[in-house]
Amino acid sequence: MSPLNLDPKKAAPTQWRSLDELAMSPEFQAGLEREFPEGASEATELDRRQFLQVMGASFALAGLTGCDVVRRPKHEILPYNNAPEHLIPGKPQFYATTVTVGEEVMGVLVESHQGRPTKIEGNPQHPSSQGATGKLQQASILDLYSPNRSQKVLKNGASSTWDAFWGGMAPVIDGFRANGGEGLRILSGYIVSPSFAAIKQHILREFPKAKWVVYEPVNRDNARIGLLGAVGKPVDAHYRIESAKRILSVDSDFLESELNHVAHARAFAKTRNPDLGKAGMSRLYLMEARYSVTGGVADHRIRVKPSMIPAALALVARELANQGLTFQSGETQLIDSALSASNGTIAEFSPQLISELAADLAAHRGASLILVGKHQPPLVHALGHAVNRLLGNVGTTVLYKISPTFAFNQDSPASAVAIRDLAADMEKGVVDTLLMIDANPVFTAPADIQFTSHLSKVRHSVHLGGEVNESAQAALWHIPQSHYLEHWDDAISFDGTTSIAQPLISPLYTTFSKSEVLAKLFDYRYRESLDIVKGHWMSRSGALGFEIAWRRWLHDGIIETGALPDSGPGSSSGMDAFLKAHSSSDEGSREGGIELMLFEHPNVHDGRFASNSWLQELPEPITKLCWDNAAYIGPSLAQKLGIKDQIILKNDKGVPMGQYDKPMIKVTRGGHSLSLPAWILPGMADETVVIHLGYGRKKGPGIAEGAGFDAYPLLDKRVGQPLSVQVEVTGSTYTLACTQDHWSMESRPIVREGDLELYERRPNFSADEFMNPHPPLASLWEEHDYSKGMQWGMTIDLNSCNGCSVCVVACQAENNIPVVGKGQVIRGREMHWIRLDRYFTGDVDDPGLVFQAMLCQHCENAPCEAVCPVSATVHSKEGLNEMVYNRCIGTRYCSNNCPYKVRRFNFSNLTNHYSESEKMQKNPDVTVRFRGVMEKCTYCVQRIEQARIGFKNKGNEVIPDGAIVPACAQACPTDAIVFGNINDPKSRVAVLKAHPRNYGVLTELNTKPRTTYLAKVRNPNPAILKLSRSAT
């Protein structure tokens, strides 16, 4: 699909010639100037036709709005002047590029329609993607077109120009040439780009006295320090999850928020296939205080108070020692200090549990794995690696390889330290110039160092970023940064895979990449981002045959650099020094009382995605909250605080719903306090409060502003470190938007779950043990014959699905699904075609968690069809439940009659106020729905039809299995969603539908759904089950 770009200099630009014209054309500029940050639910007027005329022929049919059959007024067709090569109007093209979020580097393919990038897909050749993506990568394309983007240079908040900026900075830089960079500070995120690192080297060489500060509020510094202590080399741990039979995760949310989580999720899912049997299927133990999605899939989830987590691991280690593992002296010290570091009594752990756990691990030497969460203190990491080594996992399930990006960042200490040093220098007034490169320290820096107030002491503060955020407003200069799809770049992923990031569109506004800005400021030998990247790699691989290599890199999206060498187990010789540095109590928290844990938000991360409306409206996986964050507390703490929330207390009786007004609580830490709504989350550790960071942007751009509550002021230590707080109920309430009110399955056979023992005893337990008793499903008439031709169907494996929600975002991007805003979500009008249902099972204090993607089931006897008075929803001969928007008159009867309630209605006009730029993201192959029509999952019928036409044009009438992949299946990291022709017995989907775990939801209604599910099978430790049974 992705054509070779011959001359790279031309290749990229010519693709979007018409957009060059567009970007420069006055009316378009005007259109963009007009945009100002505002809520997703508000409207900005636009004139579609004018826009179309600017956009050219290809968009005229792009399906931007609803029906106008009558011809007048006249439409124009604007052809190219010089036609770009490879371009067939109406056929999307795919280009490989790279997305970088913090430390996470992911190779992706970007779908482009006549020069408009519209959708991000995973790059199958890139190890950290393998064809899938994370939700942040999926949603990142919206930032390109966001009306909240920063579009012009600001000086003291007033509109200014680039020339003014260059002119203003030139003397400053000259000054630094004189003093060797005295007082020059450059603050950036973690550096993964070799070419950018080269610029950094250049600057530090030219200005030896300058300092470079690497600051990531959410970082892996603890893991690095711990590894340095345990291994003695600057290595990264590479986990071979696919070959681990027993996994103990110590507060490690490795399926959602840890580095490389997409690849981990895929690998882990492979080990969860119950057909592997007792010997083959993995077992996951997890100790955590919060409730993470990884906790949801765990076989044994052990609730531990934050400050007790180190102790928990230490106890396991000690138990292992008792069972015959011999720790070295340093490591025993680790255990002791871990135990001492945690205040709580270790009595609250059941010793039998610990011993059974340890026994299970010990029984799987070389095939077990200890994972420690990035927020745990270094000594826990060190301990984790020690245990891994003793269990013989190093070399089998854990590999240590020298970190390829270590060199880029080594001259800056750990973020937490670095930012404090910087603040100190600023306070001393020794910082003359501070360049904040694509970072937002004013918002994310710990409150106690008063970064903002010190910033005023800096003479020249410059902020480079994609949006006018807190730092931009506090700085002297703000200069707009181009989106990663607008400039050339490169990145090296932690496993050494290096990839080129090529632009798909020339900058919509006059913006520059961070490389370009620094190159120009500090007079680097290249200026254009293309030259910077190309130049860097030419200097590496030499000019000989470079062009051919370069073209291949662009095509594949990766530069195959040989896999990093395994640096072996290393030695714990540095352990003593490490212990001195880190076992001291400042790391552990002897704080006790009610403990607060601050984490990055799974959707908006540390706040950098807060203005992305897709991610704002995407329900948080566990609580299903959107547009806000909240203080999560367990039921026990709620009762202690006297909070009566019927949702949880009356859970299984009655249906208390529509109660979105949540009680506010005041969380106080030292001088700072924060009032925010309390959300009762079953399964939280007792006496624990969890708050997600990244919300409550004060002067945040656009929709970010006013959404949620800013917890950074409470942060006076590392992110994720337990902080003791006082909590009181304020008495006032706050309205939260939640997309799933009800928590319990009401003991209905919806998500069907069993353990491995049951499965092996009765492979099709899901069908016979759960089905509601019902009379035989006889039909009154001769049923329609679906045995011929291609018949589409889907299976969703509940064992693989971990609820990460990337499918929801992918679907939104592919199908032009509008965002409705908080108010409408509260009214129950969210538009997501995929509702990722989340149910808690069992005891409210320590429940299990299951997810189920609920989307149109394409029932063969679809109840929705019979009741539509105008035949707007009917069945295709290939078994699709078709929804014809332009026939729909909006009686909403179909939704009433849908037992799965998967239909969505355009109650208001959600699509006629897109900004000019937002329209450019829309997929031209899918109608943008208008007010008053119903919509729902179509199995991505546009992809089916394109594939069909493609194959038929080539003369073959059958579409091979796997040629059609719906957006959700494509994005899914765990491959849980499989789509295909159920009439072809060899197709994957047909095989899965024949699988004993396969079952349909509500089949007793004789709806005959085409979407079916594979029952969930956990692999709990029988010994531990026995314990809990005897306990009760």
Binding site: G654, V655, P656, M657, G658, Q740, D741, H742, W743, S744, M745, E746, R748, I750, N772, P773, H774, Q824, R827, G828, R829, R835, D837, Y839, Q852, M854, P863, A866, V867, C868, P869, V870, S871, R887, C888, I889, G890, T891, R892, Y893, S895, N896, N897, P899, Y900, K901, R903, R904, F905, N906, F907, S908, N909, R931, G932, V933, M934, V1001, L1002, L1005
Partner: protein, 466 residues
């Protein structure tokens, strides 16, 4: 028949003794001099409510259904509740004029005209909701089978489409029925009229009626046929309305008991409103002589009967839900009574099942004030019955999809507005048309029998001949 008329105590049908007096009594309201103040006040009120309705509907068409409280899963809110409520009220008229006619219930003549008018205006109110609740009203005409350049036709399997046909047929036939009944009385007004204007207007609509017996013959046959077809029609309409729910597959909706139970409920609420209005009109216009306590007593007995049927239906629903052993059904009904909308359920039960039982006591049946209050309670209860049924949507099969419905101010004002529509038309009817069927009332007076005063033998024979 005639025999029975003679034996019935006079007070039960018409207290007046002369045709002339009946004329006077019934035509009086159309005389401007006799129009009471209250009429003017009420009319002004209704008119302003009617304007309110117009504004609300305009706002709706402009902004979309988003201004209502409807959501997912409760995609039908007030609109359908009000629709079923109004259409239900509309059933009394036809029932009285058709079914009671077939059963030769002569007391119906005291109220049928009144009730028929009510039917027509109620159906008008009802019609507004299904037509305006759609998302794109400008293409709502796709529900009618019209040839078009898309080659698309409606889906005749959809209960909503059945509604379209049922309700429009019902409206048309009721209108004809009402008008045919009016023709002789319009002639009466024509001949009483003094002003040229009235002579012309009444004259035109009276079609030149001259009471000829050769006309009366066809006329009576027509009336009989209309009654004969309206009877199944009136039963079919609310059955079909109930299909909107019964034909679906939702717990609490998908029940075979709905058609009879909806019809009973419709008659129940219809009679209640007829009594409510009749009690007022009777007082204001002094119609006591033609609308006797006997009429009201009969109405109350009807309410008692239908109310008891409805109560039985509620009980039976619950029983079947339990008996079916279907967990979704069971939950749906327990949730109705104890769930978040339990309050509505209990209002419904107390108004529809408990209150009407008071009518077992003759004293209460004959007490105007209490009757008046009870009839109003019944209509509140019947509105809530529909509310409870529609709200069953809020929790069906998958708990993940459960939601909660809150009406918005627009919902409320639109509902209020329909009372304006009803009131305006109804007051105009009171003011300009004979509120009672003059000819029919005369026809059931003992004096109307050609054998009045003769001895029974001949009465019997001629009675038999008829």
């Amino acid at each position: 028949m005639i025999l029975r008329d003679n034996t019935l105590p006079r007070a039960t049908l018409v207290e007046s003794k002369s045709f002339g007096e009946v004329n006077e009594i019934i035509c009086a309201p159309t005389n401007p001099v006799r129009t009471p103040k209250t009429w003017h006040i009420l009319f002004l009120g209704s008119l302003s409510l009617l304007c309110l309705l117009g504004v609300m509907l305009a706002y709706l068409v402009w902004e979309g259904t988003g201004i209502w409280g409807v959501n997912m899963p409760v995609a039908w809110g007030f609109a359908i509740v009000n629709f079923v409520w109004w259409i239900g009220i509309g059933h009394a008229g036809t029932l009285i004029s058709a079914i009671l006619f077939l059963f030769r219930q002569k007391w119906r003549t005291g109220i049928n005209r009144f009730a028929e008018a009510m039917t027509i205006f109620a159906v008008m109110c009802a019609f507004i909701f299904p037509s305006f609740h759609v998302g794109r009203i400008w293409v709502a005409y796709w529900m009618f089978p019209l040839p078009n350049s898309m080659g698309m036709w409606p889906n005749f399997r959809s209960p909503l489409l059945w509604d379209v046909f049922a309700v429009s047929t019902y409206f048309t036939v009721s209108l004809l029925f009402w008008y045919v009944g009016l023709v002789p009385d319009l002639a009466t007004l024509r001949d009483k009229a003094t002003s040229k204007m009235k002579k012309v207007l009444y004259g035109v609509f009276a079609l030149g009626w001259r009471g000829a017996n050769r006309h009366w013959q066809n006329y009576e046959r027509t009336y009989l046929i209309l009654a004969a077809v309206s009877t199944p029609l009136v039963l079919s309409v609310h059955s079909i309305v109930s299909f909107d729910f019964a034909v679906s597959n939702l717990p609490g909706w998908h029940t075979t008991i709905f058609p009879p139970y909806f019809v009973a409920g419709a008659v129940f609420s219809g009679f209640a409103l007829v009594s409510t209005l009749m009690i007022i009109a009777r007082k204001v216009y002094g119609l006591e002589k033609v609308v006797t306590m006997h009429h009201l007593d009969n109405m109350n007995k009807f309410m008692l009967a239908t109310g008891t049927i409805v109560a039985y239906a509620y009980a039976m629903e619950f029983f079947i839900a339990w008996y079916s052993g279907n967990p979704y059904e069971r939950f749906a009904f327990i949730n109705r009574a104890l769930g978040p909308y339990g309050w509505a359920y209990w209002i419904m039960v107390s108004c529809n099942c408990i209150v009407p039982q008071l009518f077992w006591w003759k004293k209460i049946r004959y007490n105007l004030l209490i009757t008046f209050i009870i009839t109003i309670l019944i209509n509140i209860g019947m509105w809530f019955e529909r509310f409870v049924i529609v709200m069953t949507l809020h929790a069906d099969f998958l708990p993940s999809s459960w939601g909660y419905y809150r009406p918005t101010w627009v919902d409320w004002l639109t509902f209020l507005g329909t009372f304006g529509l009803f009131g305006t038309f109804f007051l105009l009817f009171l003011r300009f048309l004979p509120t009672l069927a003059i000819a029919e009332v005369k026809g059931v007076m003992p004096e109307a029998s050609p054998h009045h005063g003769h001895h029974h033998q001949e009465a019997l024979t001629s009675g038999g001949q008829h």
